[in-house]
Symmetry: C2
Subunit: 228 residues, 2 copies
Protein backbone atom coordinates (compact mmCIF):
# COMPACT_ATOMS: atom_id res chain seq x y z
CA UNK A 1 0.00 0.00 0.00
CA UNK A 2 2.73 2.41 -0.93
CA UNK A 3 1.29 5.76 -1.91
CA UNK A 4 4.16 6.40 -4.31
CA UNK A 5 2.26 4.46 -6.91
CA UNK A 6 1.61 7.33 -9.26
CA UNK A 7 -2.03 8.24 -9.35
CA UNK A 8 -3.34 9.31 -12.65
CA UNK A 9 -5.75 12.17 -12.22
CA UNK A 10 -9.32 11.07 -11.69
CA UNK A 11 -11.91 13.05 -13.70
CA UNK A 12 -13.68 15.69 -11.64
CA UNK A 13 -17.05 14.23 -12.51
CA UNK A 14 -15.97 10.89 -11.10
CA UNK A 15 -14.55 12.46 -7.94
CA UNK A 16 -17.88 14.09 -7.26
CA UNK A 17 -19.64 10.71 -7.51
CA UNK A 18 -17.26 8.69 -5.39
CA UNK A 19 -18.69 10.08 -2.13
CA UNK A 20 -22.11 8.90 -3.25
CA UNK A 21 -20.88 5.39 -3.86
CA UNK A 22 -19.09 5.49 -0.55
CA UNK A 23 -22.21 6.36 1.37
CA UNK A 24 -24.23 3.63 -0.32
CA UNK A 25 -21.54 1.06 0.30
CA UNK A 26 -21.47 2.00 3.98
CA UNK A 27 -25.21 1.52 4.22
CA UNK A 28 -25.03 -1.82 2.47
CA UNK A 29 -22.25 -2.99 4.75
CA UNK A 30 -24.37 -2.09 7.76
CA UNK A 31 -27.16 -4.16 6.25
CA UNK A 32 -24.86 -7.14 6.09
CA UNK A 33 -24.22 -7.05 2.35
CA UNK A 34 -20.69 -8.13 1.54
CA UNK A 35 -20.78 -8.10 -2.26
CA UNK A 36 -22.49 -5.75 -4.68
CA UNK A 37 -22.78 -5.50 -8.45
CA UNK A 38 -22.36 -2.36 -10.50
CA UNK A 39 -25.98 -2.75 -11.47
CA UNK A 40 -27.23 -2.60 -7.91
CA UNK A 41 -24.85 0.20 -6.99
CA UNK A 42 -26.06 2.20 -9.96
CA UNK A 43 -29.67 1.68 -8.98
CA UNK A 44 -29.08 2.92 -5.44
CA UNK A 45 -26.96 5.80 -6.61
CA UNK A 46 -29.27 7.09 -9.28
CA UNK A 47 -26.85 6.58 -12.17
CA UNK A 48 -26.37 3.88 -14.78
CA UNK A 49 -24.24 0.79 -14.47
CA UNK A 50 -21.55 1.50 -17.08
CA UNK A 51 -20.82 4.80 -15.40
CA UNK A 52 -20.33 3.07 -12.08
CA UNK A 53 -17.91 0.59 -13.60
CA UNK A 54 -15.94 3.26 -15.39
CA UNK A 55 -15.79 5.39 -12.28
CA UNK A 56 -14.56 2.51 -10.16
CA UNK A 57 -12.09 1.46 -12.83
CA UNK A 58 -10.18 4.69 -12.19
CA UNK A 59 -9.35 3.38 -8.76
CA UNK A 60 -8.02 0.13 -10.17
CA UNK A 61 -9.54 -3.24 -10.94
CA UNK A 62 -11.04 -4.09 -7.62
CA UNK A 63 -14.06 -6.02 -8.84
CA UNK A 64 -14.49 -9.69 -9.52
CA UNK A 65 -16.02 -10.62 -12.85
CA UNK A 66 -19.12 -12.67 -12.55
CA UNK A 67 -19.53 -11.64 -8.92
CA UNK A 68 -19.28 -7.92 -8.30
CA UNK A 69 -17.38 -5.78 -5.83
CA UNK A 70 -16.49 -6.75 -2.30
CA UNK A 71 -18.18 -4.04 -0.25
CA UNK A 72 -15.65 -3.77 2.55
CA UNK A 73 -12.67 -3.68 0.27
CA UNK A 74 -14.23 -1.15 -2.09
CA UNK A 75 -15.06 1.13 0.83
CA UNK A 76 -11.44 1.06 1.84
CA UNK A 77 -10.21 1.83 -1.66
CA UNK A 78 -12.56 4.77 -2.12
CA UNK A 79 -11.71 6.13 1.30
CA UNK A 80 -8.06 5.86 0.49
CA UNK A 81 -8.47 7.62 -2.82
CA UNK A 82 -10.55 10.40 -1.30
CA UNK A 83 -8.20 10.76 1.63
CA UNK A 84 -10.86 9.75 4.12
CA UNK A 85 -8.83 7.21 6.05
CA UNK A 86 -8.47 9.82 8.75
CA UNK A 87 -10.50 12.76 10.02
CA UNK A 88 -10.19 16.24 8.55
CA UNK A 89 -10.98 18.78 11.24
CA UNK A 90 -12.57 21.94 9.89
CA UNK A 91 -12.91 25.46 11.21
CA UNK A 92 -16.05 27.49 10.60
CA UNK A 93 -15.78 31.23 10.15
CA UNK A 94 -19.00 33.01 11.03
CA UNK A 95 -21.29 32.13 13.92
CA UNK A 96 -24.44 33.56 12.41
CA UNK A 97 -27.48 31.56 11.44
CA UNK A 98 -25.69 29.41 8.93
CA UNK A 99 -22.57 28.89 11.02
CA UNK A 100 -24.67 27.82 13.99
CA UNK A 101 -26.57 25.39 11.86
CA UNK A 102 -23.46 23.83 10.40
CA UNK A 103 -21.92 23.49 13.84
CA UNK A 104 -25.06 21.87 15.19
CA UNK A 105 -25.56 19.72 12.13
CA UNK A 106 -24.04 16.39 13.06
CA UNK A 107 -23.50 15.35 9.47
CA UNK A 108 -20.04 16.81 9.23
CA UNK A 109 -18.53 14.98 12.16
CA UNK A 110 -20.19 11.71 11.20
CA UNK A 111 -18.57 11.80 7.80
CA UNK A 112 -15.09 12.52 9.05
CA UNK A 113 -15.09 16.31 9.23
CA UNK A 114 -15.38 17.25 12.91
CA UNK A 115 -15.93 20.92 13.61
CA UNK A 116 -12.75 21.70 15.50
CA UNK A 117 -13.50 25.37 16.02
CA UNK A 118 -15.81 28.25 15.23
CA UNK A 119 -14.67 31.85 15.04
CA UNK A 120 -16.43 35.15 14.55
CA UNK A 121 -15.43 38.78 14.31
CA UNK A 122 -18.37 39.83 16.43
CA UNK A 123 -17.20 39.95 20.03
CA UNK A 124 -20.74 39.53 21.27
CA UNK A 125 -20.91 36.08 19.67
CA UNK A 126 -17.60 34.96 21.17
CA UNK A 127 -17.94 32.69 24.13
CA UNK A 128 -21.29 31.15 23.30
CA UNK A 129 -21.32 27.44 22.72
CA UNK A 130 -22.57 25.88 19.49
CA UNK A 131 -22.77 22.15 19.05
CA UNK A 132 -20.28 21.57 21.81
CA UNK A 133 -17.77 24.07 20.47
CA UNK A 134 -17.12 27.45 21.97
CA UNK A 135 -17.03 30.41 19.59
CA UNK A 136 -13.62 32.05 19.59
CA UNK A 137 -12.39 35.42 18.28
CA UNK A 138 -11.24 35.48 14.69
CA UNK A 139 -7.79 36.69 15.68
CA UNK A 140 -7.02 33.29 17.11
CA UNK A 141 -7.44 31.68 13.72
CA UNK A 142 -3.70 31.23 13.05
CA UNK A 143 -3.11 29.50 16.38
CA UNK A 144 -6.19 27.33 15.97
CA UNK A 145 -5.28 26.23 12.48
CA UNK A 146 -1.71 25.49 13.45
CA UNK A 147 -2.36 23.72 16.72
CA UNK A 148 -5.18 21.58 15.38
CA UNK A 149 -3.55 21.03 11.99
CA UNK A 150 -6.60 22.23 10.08
CA UNK A 151 -6.51 22.17 6.30
CA UNK A 152 -10.12 22.99 5.50
CA UNK A 153 -12.03 26.13 6.35
CA UNK A 154 -15.73 26.85 5.96
CA UNK A 155 -16.90 30.37 5.17
CA UNK A 156 -20.36 30.92 6.65
CA UNK A 157 -20.37 34.70 6.86
CA UNK A 158 -22.57 37.23 5.07
CA UNK A 159 -21.39 38.05 1.57
CA UNK A 160 -19.85 41.33 2.69
CA UNK A 161 -17.48 39.60 5.08
CA UNK A 162 -16.71 36.51 3.04
CA UNK A 163 -13.61 37.73 1.22
CA UNK A 164 -12.08 38.92 4.46
CA UNK A 165 -12.86 35.56 6.04
CA UNK A 166 -11.20 33.76 3.15
CA UNK A 167 -8.13 35.99 3.37
CA UNK A 168 -7.79 35.23 7.05
CA UNK A 169 -8.18 31.51 6.47
CA UNK A 170 -5.51 31.51 3.78
CA UNK A 171 -3.19 33.62 5.94
CA UNK A 172 -3.70 31.17 8.77
CA UNK A 173 -2.56 28.30 6.58
CA UNK A 174 -5.76 26.72 5.34
CA UNK A 175 -5.49 25.26 1.84
CA UNK A 176 -9.10 24.34 1.05
CA UNK A 177 -12.22 26.42 1.51
CA UNK A 178 -15.89 25.58 1.38
CA UNK A 179 -17.74 28.80 0.68
CA UNK A 180 -21.41 29.29 1.53
CA UNK A 181 -21.43 33.01 0.82
CA UNK A 182 -22.88 34.06 -2.54
CA UNK A 183 -19.77 35.67 -3.94
CA UNK A 184 -16.77 34.49 -5.91
CA UNK A 185 -13.78 34.36 -3.61
CA UNK A 186 -10.38 35.52 -4.80
CA UNK A 187 -7.65 33.30 -3.43
CA UNK A 188 -3.99 32.63 -4.26
CA UNK A 189 -3.13 29.86 -6.70
CA UNK A 190 -3.03 26.47 -5.07
CA UNK A 191 -5.94 27.11 -2.74
CA UNK A 192 -8.90 24.92 -3.54
CA UNK A 193 -12.33 26.54 -3.25
CA UNK A 194 -15.75 25.01 -3.59
CA UNK A 195 -18.91 27.03 -3.46
CA UNK A 196 -22.36 26.11 -2.25
CA UNK A 197 -25.06 28.67 -2.89
CA UNK A 198 -28.37 27.52 -1.51
CA UNK A 199 -30.38 30.19 -3.28
CA UNK A 200 -28.89 29.29 -6.65
CA UNK A 201 -30.27 25.79 -6.35
CA UNK A 202 -33.73 27.18 -5.77
CA UNK A 203 -33.36 29.52 -8.72
CA UNK A 204 -32.49 26.60 -10.95
CA UNK A 205 -35.62 24.82 -9.78
CA UNK A 206 -37.53 28.00 -10.49
CA UNK A 207 -36.37 27.90 -14.08
CA UNK A 208 -37.75 24.43 -14.65
CA UNK A 209 -40.97 25.33 -12.84
CA UNK A 210 -41.32 28.39 -15.01
CA UNK A 211 -40.76 26.39 -18.16
CA UNK A 212 -43.27 23.82 -17.09
CA UNK A 213 -46.08 26.23 -16.34
CA UNK A 214 -45.25 28.62 -19.13
CA UNK A 215 -44.82 31.44 -16.67
CA UNK A 216 -48.01 31.07 -14.67
CA UNK A 217 -47.53 32.71 -11.34
CA UNK A 218 -48.33 30.61 -8.28
CA UNK A 219 -48.71 33.58 -5.96
CA UNK A 220 -49.00 36.37 -8.44
CA UNK A 221 -49.46 39.49 -6.42
CA UNK A 222 -51.59 40.83 -9.22
CA UNK A 223 -54.31 38.27 -8.70
CA UNK A 224 -54.58 36.14 -5.62
CA UNK A 225 -54.04 37.79 -2.29
CA UNK A 226 -51.11 36.22 -0.51
CA UNK A 227 -51.26 37.75 2.91
CA UNK A 228 -48.64 37.66 5.68
Amino acid sequence: MSPDRNRRPIPDATVSRLPVYLRILGEQRDLGVDSISSDRLAELGGVNAPKVRKDLSYLGSYGTRGVGYEVEYLIFQIQRELGLTHDWPVVIVGAGNLGQALAGYGGFGERGFPVAAIVDVDASKVGSVLGGTRVRPVDELPQIVRSKRINIGVVATPASAAQDAADRLVAAGVTSILNFAPIVLTVPAGIEVRKVDLAVELQILSYYEQRRTGGAAPTARARSASAS
Copy 2:
Protein backbone atom coordinates in the same frame (compact mmCIF):
# COMPACT_ATOMS: atom_id res chain seq x y z
CA MET B 1 -50.33 26.60 -24.07
CA SER B 2 -47.22 24.77 -25.13
CA PRO B 3 -44.43 25.97 -22.94
CA ASP B 4 -41.66 24.30 -24.90
CA ARG B 5 -42.47 25.81 -28.22
CA ASN B 6 -41.87 29.49 -27.69
CA ARG B 7 -38.48 28.95 -26.06
CA ARG B 8 -35.62 26.78 -27.16
CA PRO B 9 -34.16 24.90 -24.21
CA ILE B 10 -31.27 26.60 -22.47
CA PRO B 11 -28.33 24.28 -21.67
CA ASP B 12 -28.27 23.15 -18.07
CA ALA B 13 -24.80 24.50 -17.61
CA THR B 14 -26.00 27.92 -18.65
CA VAL B 15 -29.05 27.77 -16.40
CA SER B 16 -26.82 27.10 -13.43
CA ARG B 17 -24.76 30.19 -14.21
CA LEU B 18 -27.60 32.63 -14.83
CA PRO B 19 -28.30 33.07 -11.10
CA VAL B 20 -24.67 34.06 -10.64
CA TYR B 21 -24.91 36.73 -13.31
CA LEU B 22 -28.16 37.89 -11.81
CA ARG B 23 -26.67 38.41 -8.39
CA ILE B 24 -23.70 40.33 -9.79
CA LEU B 25 -25.94 42.51 -11.90
CA GLY B 26 -28.05 43.33 -8.88
CA GLU B 27 -24.98 44.36 -6.94
CA GLN B 28 -23.75 46.51 -9.81
CA ARG B 29 -27.10 48.18 -10.14
CA ASP B 30 -27.02 49.03 -6.44
CA LEU B 31 -23.61 50.55 -7.00
CA GLY B 32 -25.03 52.81 -9.66
CA VAL B 33 -23.62 50.95 -12.65
CA ASP B 34 -26.01 51.05 -15.58
CA SER B 35 -23.95 49.33 -18.26
CA ILE B 36 -21.58 46.37 -18.05
CA SER B 37 -19.37 44.49 -20.51
CA SER B 38 -19.09 40.75 -20.81
CA ASP B 39 -15.47 41.12 -19.79
CA ARG B 40 -16.32 42.77 -16.49
CA LEU B 41 -19.19 40.42 -15.82
CA ALA B 42 -16.90 37.47 -16.44
CA GLU B 43 -14.30 38.84 -14.05
CA LEU B 44 -16.84 39.29 -11.27
CA GLY B 45 -18.40 35.93 -11.91
CA GLY B 46 -15.23 33.90 -12.05
CA VAL B 47 -15.70 32.72 -15.62
CA ASN B 48 -14.37 33.85 -18.99
CA ALA B 49 -15.89 36.42 -21.28
CA PRO B 50 -16.86 34.26 -24.26
CA LYS B 51 -18.81 32.00 -21.94
CA VAL B 52 -20.73 34.97 -20.59
CA ARG B 53 -21.62 36.15 -24.04
CA LYS B 54 -22.67 32.70 -25.16
CA ASP B 55 -24.77 32.21 -22.05
CA LEU B 56 -26.52 35.53 -22.48
CA SER B 57 -27.05 34.92 -26.18
CA TYR B 58 -29.43 32.10 -25.27
CA LEU B 59 -31.76 34.72 -23.83
CA GLY B 60 -31.67 36.75 -27.00
CA SER B 61 -29.52 39.56 -28.27
CA TYR B 62 -29.88 42.01 -25.45
CA GLY B 63 -26.42 43.57 -25.61
CA THR B 64 -25.22 46.59 -27.52
CA ARG B 65 -22.03 46.14 -29.52
CA GLY B 66 -19.30 48.50 -28.59
CA VAL B 67 -21.02 49.27 -25.29
CA GLY B 68 -22.07 46.23 -23.33
CA TYR B 69 -25.26 45.20 -21.59
CA GLU B 70 -27.71 47.53 -19.94
CA VAL B 71 -27.76 46.31 -16.35
CA GLU B 72 -31.39 46.99 -15.54
CA TYR B 73 -32.74 45.48 -18.72
CA LEU B 74 -30.52 42.39 -18.48
CA ILE B 75 -31.66 41.82 -14.90
CA PHE B 76 -35.23 41.84 -16.09
CA GLN B 77 -34.53 39.43 -18.93
CA ILE B 78 -32.71 36.93 -16.71
CA GLN B 79 -35.42 37.16 -14.07
CA ARG B 80 -38.04 36.54 -16.70
CA GLU B 81 -36.18 33.54 -18.09
CA LEU B 82 -35.61 32.06 -14.64
CA GLY B 83 -39.17 32.75 -13.61
CA LEU B 84 -38.10 35.11 -10.84
CA THR B 85 -40.46 37.95 -11.67
CA HIS B 86 -42.55 36.83 -8.75
CA ASP B 87 -41.90 35.09 -5.44
CA TRP B 88 -41.87 31.34 -5.08
CA PRO B 89 -42.96 30.40 -1.58
CA VAL B 90 -41.35 27.22 -0.29
CA VAL B 91 -42.25 24.76 2.42
CA ILE B 92 -39.56 23.13 4.55
CA VAL B 93 -40.07 19.59 5.77
CA GLY B 94 -38.07 18.86 8.89
CA ALA B 95 -37.56 21.26 11.77
CA GLY B 96 -34.30 19.76 13.00
CA ASN B 97 -30.99 21.51 13.00
CA LEU B 98 -30.87 22.02 9.28
CA GLY B 99 -34.50 22.99 8.92
CA GLN B 100 -34.17 25.55 11.68
CA ALA B 101 -31.11 27.03 10.06
CA LEU B 102 -32.73 27.29 6.67
CA ALA B 103 -35.79 28.94 8.17
CA GLY B 104 -33.67 31.44 10.06
CA TYR B 105 -31.32 32.01 7.16
CA GLY B 106 -32.63 35.12 5.50
CA GLY B 107 -31.04 34.36 2.16
CA PHE B 108 -34.05 32.48 0.85
CA GLY B 109 -36.58 35.22 1.32
CA GLU B 110 -34.25 37.90 0.01
CA ARG B 111 -33.84 36.04 -3.24
CA GLY B 112 -37.50 35.51 -3.82
CA PHE B 113 -38.11 32.24 -1.99
CA PRO B 114 -39.94 33.10 1.24
CA VAL B 115 -40.36 30.27 3.70
CA ALA B 116 -44.12 29.99 3.74
CA ALA B 117 -44.28 27.10 6.16
CA ILE B 118 -42.31 24.52 8.12
CA VAL B 119 -43.68 21.12 8.99
CA ASP B 120 -42.38 18.22 11.07
CA VAL B 121 -43.59 14.76 12.00
CA ASP B 122 -42.36 15.20 15.55
CA ALA B 123 -45.26 16.56 17.60
CA SER B 124 -42.88 18.00 20.16
CA LYS B 125 -41.44 20.33 17.52
CA VAL B 126 -44.83 21.52 16.35
CA GLY B 127 -45.79 24.92 17.64
CA SER B 128 -42.33 26.36 18.12
CA VAL B 129 -41.50 29.38 16.04
CA LEU B 130 -38.55 29.47 13.65
CA GLY B 131 -37.63 32.58 11.76
CA GLY B 132 -41.09 34.00 12.21
CA THR B 133 -42.83 30.85 11.05
CA ARG B 134 -44.64 28.44 13.32
CA VAL B 135 -43.87 24.75 12.89
CA ARG B 136 -46.96 22.83 11.85
CA PRO B 137 -47.75 19.13 11.75
CA VAL B 138 -46.85 17.29 8.60
CA ASP B 139 -50.45 16.19 8.05
CA GLU B 140 -51.39 19.73 7.15
CA LEU B 141 -49.04 19.66 4.18
CA PRO B 142 -51.78 19.25 1.54
CA GLN B 143 -53.75 22.21 2.85
CA ILE B 144 -50.65 24.35 3.19
CA VAL B 145 -49.44 23.60 -0.32
CA ARG B 146 -52.83 24.23 -1.81
CA SER B 147 -53.77 27.36 0.07
CA LYS B 148 -50.41 29.03 -0.38
CA ARG B 149 -49.91 27.77 -3.91
CA ILE B 150 -46.53 26.24 -3.15
CA ASN B 151 -44.61 24.55 -5.96
CA ILE B 152 -41.27 23.98 -4.27
CA GLY B 153 -40.53 21.86 -1.22
CA VAL B 154 -37.32 21.56 0.76
CA VAL B 155 -36.39 18.26 2.38
CA ALA B 156 -34.36 18.92 5.52
CA THR B 157 -34.98 15.69 7.38
CA PRO B 158 -32.55 12.95 8.39
CA ALA B 159 -31.80 10.47 5.63
CA SER B 160 -34.14 7.89 7.11
CA ALA B 161 -37.17 10.17 6.79
CA ALA B 162 -36.30 11.86 3.50
CA GLN B 163 -38.13 9.53 1.14
CA ASP B 164 -41.27 9.75 3.22
CA ALA B 165 -40.98 13.53 3.24
CA ALA B 166 -40.61 13.57 -0.53
CA ASP B 167 -43.60 11.28 -0.98
CA ARG B 168 -45.72 13.56 1.17
CA LEU B 169 -44.58 16.63 -0.73
CA VAL B 170 -45.42 15.05 -4.06
CA ALA B 171 -48.78 13.86 -2.79
CA ALA B 172 -49.51 17.37 -1.59
CA GLY B 173 -48.91 18.74 -5.06
CA VAL B 174 -45.35 20.02 -4.98
CA THR B 175 -43.54 19.66 -8.31
CA SER B 176 -39.97 20.63 -7.41
CA ILE B 177 -37.87 19.43 -4.48
CA LEU B 178 -34.60 20.63 -3.05
CA ASN B 179 -33.13 17.73 -1.11
CA PHE B 180 -30.56 18.18 1.64
CA ALA B 181 -30.69 14.59 2.81
CA PRO B 182 -27.84 12.37 1.65
CA ILE B 183 -29.94 9.87 -0.26
CA VAL B 184 -31.27 9.59 -3.79
CA LEU B 185 -34.98 10.32 -3.77
CA THR B 186 -37.36 8.29 -5.88
CA VAL B 187 -40.05 10.50 -7.36
CA PRO B 188 -42.60 10.23 -10.18
CA ALA B 189 -41.65 11.45 -13.63
CA GLY B 190 -42.14 15.15 -14.04
CA ILE B 191 -41.00 16.04 -10.54
CA GLU B 192 -37.78 18.01 -10.55
CA VAL B 193 -35.28 17.20 -7.83
CA ARG B 194 -32.02 18.87 -6.96
CA LYS B 195 -29.72 17.56 -4.29
CA VAL B 196 -27.35 19.43 -2.03
CA ASP B 197 -25.10 17.24 0.09
CA LEU B 198 -22.92 19.34 2.32
CA ALA B 199 -20.66 16.47 3.31
CA VAL B 200 -20.02 15.53 -0.30
CA GLU B 201 -18.52 18.93 -0.96
CA LEU B 202 -16.12 18.44 1.92
CA GLN B 203 -15.20 14.99 0.66
CA ILE B 204 -14.34 16.43 -2.72
CA LEU B 205 -12.11 18.98 -1.03
CA SER B 206 -10.56 16.12 0.89
CA TYR B 207 -9.64 14.42 -2.37
CA TYR B 208 -7.70 17.42 -3.61
CA GLU B 209 -6.07 17.87 -0.21
CA GLN B 210 -5.08 14.25 -0.20
CA ARG B 211 -3.64 14.49 -3.68
CA ARG B 212 -1.68 17.57 -2.73
CA THR B 213 -0.08 16.14 0.36
CA GLY B 214 0.36 12.64 -0.98
CA GLY B 215 -1.77 11.22 1.77
CA ALA B 216 -0.11 12.79 4.80
CA ALA B 217 -2.50 12.85 7.70
CA PRO B 218 -3.14 16.24 9.25
CA THR B 219 -4.27 15.11 12.67
CA ALA B 220 -3.85 11.48 13.40
CA ARG B 221 -0.44 9.93 13.10
CA ALA B 222 0.77 12.74 10.95
CA ARG B 223 4.26 13.58 10.01
CA SER B 224 5.02 17.24 9.66
CA ALA B 225 2.58 18.89 7.35
CA SER B 226 3.88 20.56 4.24
CA ALA B 227 4.42 24.11 5.37
CA SER B 228 4.77 25.82 2.07
